[in-house]
Amino acid sequence: MKTIFYFLVFPGFLFALIVGMVASYIERKVTARVQWRVGPPILQPWYDLLKLFTKESVVPENAHLLTFLATPVLFMVSATLVAMYAGMAFFFPDAAFQGDLIVIVYLLTIPPICLILAGAASANPLASLGASREIKLVLSYELVFWMTIAVIWVKTGGELSLVNIMNKPPVMYSYSGGIASVLALFVMQAKLGRVPFDIAEAETEIMAGAYIEYSGPLLGFFKMGQYILLATLPFFISSIFWGGVNVFKYVALLVIVILVENTNPRLKVKQCLKLFWFILFPLSLVALILAVVGL
């Protein structure tokens, strides 16, 4: 009973969705202000979602039916699970369990996998291109992400529980932690699929990539998953690097994401791989060595 409440209401689905919609509103509004526009009303993400659920869903004739229908739901569910575990450690420290850091990191790879499957299942050339680009994106950032997690692990003396990590002094205030937290910002940007790492949905090149064939409620599930991820990832990054979350830290991370998004061009697939493997990975190696040495 309690688990269901955690999953569906707080800090899981409902809470994360509402926070995500507010975050998405902030994103669109700040983007509009950066471009000197007025921007959408505050309920716009809610209207978008509601509208998607009133429309019909078109399934392409050649699509793999089960995969096509299941992936959006899985996408949303895995995002919700991340929100639940990350939120539990913060709101209900007693109910959280040891080792949830690893669980969250693994769960965070499921949404991209769903996206890849969805793109591959929708029988559309642009969608398969989107899927292939998503694979390359995951390959690029995942390595750096694990290295930053390793830095955390070393710095906190082998802690894998979010609660204990939050109770330690923030990892950020050390040389290794400082480097790792900057790298984590890059990874967060890529995981959220925001510019400059939006190669997988590149509106102007491959329309919407893996999402291209989705419509109505199915697209709505993807949208909900994205809102939840937008709510969760800054929360998670802030709780492991900045020693806990509060409104200011959360909004600061969100605004960093938005400003980077608005001031950068999209990278090519090759450049993205190069950036992560040949520039950021050595840096993360340096951070790990520093952490082992004790700096």
Partner: protein, 140 residues
């Protein structure tokens, strides 16, 4: 709440350009700029017909393009508003006597609103948006 009422608060527009002389297409981008900013009403340009709530058809519709237009209309998730943009799409415009056998859009698929002009001014486009919103809400 009424379905179409919700739709009218978040219209995602797909742009179908069939041999437009490109003035119409440029004017469409104008309404997204700071001076006119239609994102205030939740209007957004999308790249896939599957995400669209409104299809904006610009340019002179020839016999070849007509097939694609019909295909796209059939693929789109309903309800879908169709907007004939510019005098070419609404009434063949200056290509009326062309050897290319032009047809107006409303002879191919049902049209919700017409936006006149060659090319329409951004004010006329916003007026068109208002017309579509009103029509979806059943006010006209």
């Amino acid at each position: 709440m009424n379905k179409l009422k919700i739709l009218s608060k978040s219209i995602w527009v797909f742009h179908f350009a069939s041999a437009a002389c490109n003035n119409c297409d440029i004017e469409i981008l104008d309404v997204l700029t700071p001076r006119f900013d239609v994102e205030r009403f939740g209007v957004k340009l999308v790249g896939s017909i599957k995400h669209a709530d409104a299809m904006l058809v610009s340019g002179m519709m020839n016999r070849k393009g007509a097939e694609f237009l019909k295909d796209l209309y059939d693929q789109a998730p309903k309800p879908l508003a169709v907007i004939a943009f510019g005098s070419c799409a609404s009434s063949m415009g200056m290509f009326k006597v062309s050897y290319n056998r032009v047809i107006p859009v409303d002879e191919i698929i049902p049209v919700t609103a017409y936006i006149p002009g060659c090319p329409p001014r951004p004010e006329a486009i916003i007026d068109g948006v208002v017309k579509v919103v009103k029509k979806l809400r059943g006010e006209i």
